[in-house]
């Protein structure tokens, strides 16, 4: 039995040592409960472990093996997410990638007339370069708001970012390969080794209907915010499938298998990235056969200023945040400072392009000193808004998008 523990003494571990520090005093997550209680003052709040990694901000670490780290709400305050503040979600390890990034090759095969094996350099010279600001969001974002708890990484709202991606349209590559009439679905493969260290088996392999693959905003990206993409974010090449579960946006992209039916790779079955067709009893096992694939992410808003737990010296509060939906069509954001009794319409900016998140701002007057919750609720073009509490519980916790709330104290 103890021999299994020897992985902890590998050469790299010894040389690199422990790279994460625990720093307290971060904000407790705003939970799913709508109770008015403030966080317990007595029990010293044990903040999340903060990421210590070159080129990355001190994101909140949800897991270190595999590395999963979310962006705190107050770090989501930039219109364009800086690379350092972009969340990190890995399913397996990070591959060893050396050599010329332009020589990195991607295979396109399956239901195509001409299977391709094409290098990054060839793609760059052969197809038009495009740059969009695109929202990338983990499928499990908001999971921690479910009650009872759902399985998996306990994201608050920070499994999301909206940086600028530069690459080529996936559609251009698929057209070059020539889609057969039978082409129905994609299957994506990255180079990340499994957690057990295997490199010959996919860690995860998800796919999407051809229509989403052909969307002009679905990219094979090479650059992030105008710079070379860091390894941790998928260099030399990754997919960016905006608005849909982030697991489709395969990092270290090696292959796209065009299928004649729904893809069945790891991460497509069971309850993985699937939601129940009929509502199930929260906390129950559910029936995985009665589920549908999670596609576009739900509508969501996050107040990015002020931070949760801020003490205010003025009763006038100028707040701001980001709102987005999987279809990229936020129409309005409403703000309440009285638990939803009354609402005030925020100003919402147009997106930089489709699938970019949208800035909202509002100015509210708090009637007296004391404790307040500030709530934000976004609504999309179809009139679909955020529920008061995480709805449609499912064992692996997808689709939790309750109204966002922060707690503030107006000091007298």
């Amino acid at each position: 039995m103890p021999k299994k523990g020897t992985f902890r003494a590998s050469r790299r571990n010894v040389l690199k040592g422990v790279g994460m520090a625990t720093i307290g005093a971060s904000l407790p997550p705003v939970g799913s409960a709508m109770a008015q209680s403030a966080p317990a003052a007595s029990a010293a709040p044990k903040g999340p472990k903060l990421l210590e990694m070159d080129g990355k901000a001190k994101l909140a670490v949800l897991g270190d093996r595999p590395l999963v780290a979310e962006t705190q709400a107050e770090l989501m305050d930039d219109d364009v997410t800086p690379t350092a503040k972009l969340f990190v979600r890995n399913n397996g390890g990070v591959p060893d990638i050396t050599g010329d990034p332009k020589a990195w090759k991607i295979k396109i095969d399956g239901e195509v007339n001409t299977p391709l094996e094409i290098s990054v350099g060839e793609m760059m010279s052969r197809f038009p370069s495009v740059t969009y600001q695109l929202t990338l969001e983990c499928g499990g974002n908001g999971r921690s708001f479910f009650s009872p708890e759902a399985r998996g990484n306990q994201w608050t709202n920070g499994g999301v970012g909206c940086p600028q991606w530069t690459g080529i349209r996936l559609a251009d590559v698929l057209k070059a390969a020539g889609l057969k009439p039978s082409a129905a679905f994609t299957g994506h493969y990255g180079a990340d080794p499994t957690l057990a260290g295997e490199t010959d088996k996919p860690t995860i392999s998800r796919g999407m209907p051809i229509a989403k693959a052909m969307d002009e905003h679905t990219l094979i990206a090479f650059k992030l915010n105008g710079q070379d993409m860091p390894l941790i974010h998928g260099a030399p090449a990754r997919l960016v499938v905006p608005g849909w579960a982030g697991s489709l946006s395969t990092k270290w992209l090696k292959r796209i298998w065009v299928r004649d039916k729904e893809h069945d790779g790891p991460g497509m079955g069971g309850f993985s990235y699937r939601v129940p067709k009929k509502p199930i009893v929260p906390g129950s096992k559910g029936d995985e056969k009665d589920t549908a694939i999670l596609e576009a992410m739900p509508v969501r808003s996050v107040i990015t200023f002020p931070a949760d737990g801020t003490k205010l010296t003025s009763r006038k509060l100028d707040l701001r945040g980001q709102a987005w939906s999987g279809e990229g069509d936020i129409k309005s954001v409403d703000i309440s400072t009285d638990y939803g009794v009354t609402w005030k319409t925020a100003k919402v900016n147009a997106p930089a392009n489709k699938f970019a998140w949208q800035r909202f701002t509002a100015s509210v007057d708090l009637p007296s000193p004391g404790y307040y919750e500030v709530w934000a609720k976004a609504t999309d073009a179809k009139g679909v808004t955020q529920p008061f509490t995480a709805a449609n519980w499912n064992p692996q916790g997808y689709g939790a998008n309750p109204i966002n709330r922060i707690r503030v104290l107006v000091e007298s």
Partner: protein, 145 residues
Amino acid sequence: MSLNITHAVVVTLTATFLLLAADRAGELRKNQPAYVPPAKPAVAAAPAVDPDKGKPPVHNDTVDDLPESKGREITFYTCTACHGVALIKAQGMSRELWDQSFDLMLTRHRMPPVKPEERVEILDYLTEQFPPRRRQRGGDNPFLK
């Protein structure tokens, strides 16, 4: 007289042990591998291409990162063969859902098979140490058996 012999044996044995213990170069134990002092912490030149460049920091979990209780060791070594302790501690679930997690690890994540009795021990541990914690809503649902 017998006391003196005993005394001499003790002294001789003690001296031998001390000599052997101090014999780090192994000169008195020719068939043993010689002691090699640990290398100085790497100030050596970095390799031309560092395969770890840009990778996440390494993190070392230990068994003490899990709460002490029966089943802690087997739970630690079984689960952390693949993933960190943080993922376990992040969630609290019913036995039924922990059991479902076990199946997920076996089927989706190709966890090596576990003996039935070990599975029971691990499930006992997880159920006891990491039960559902959010009771504000849903934790006492009347429709849960």
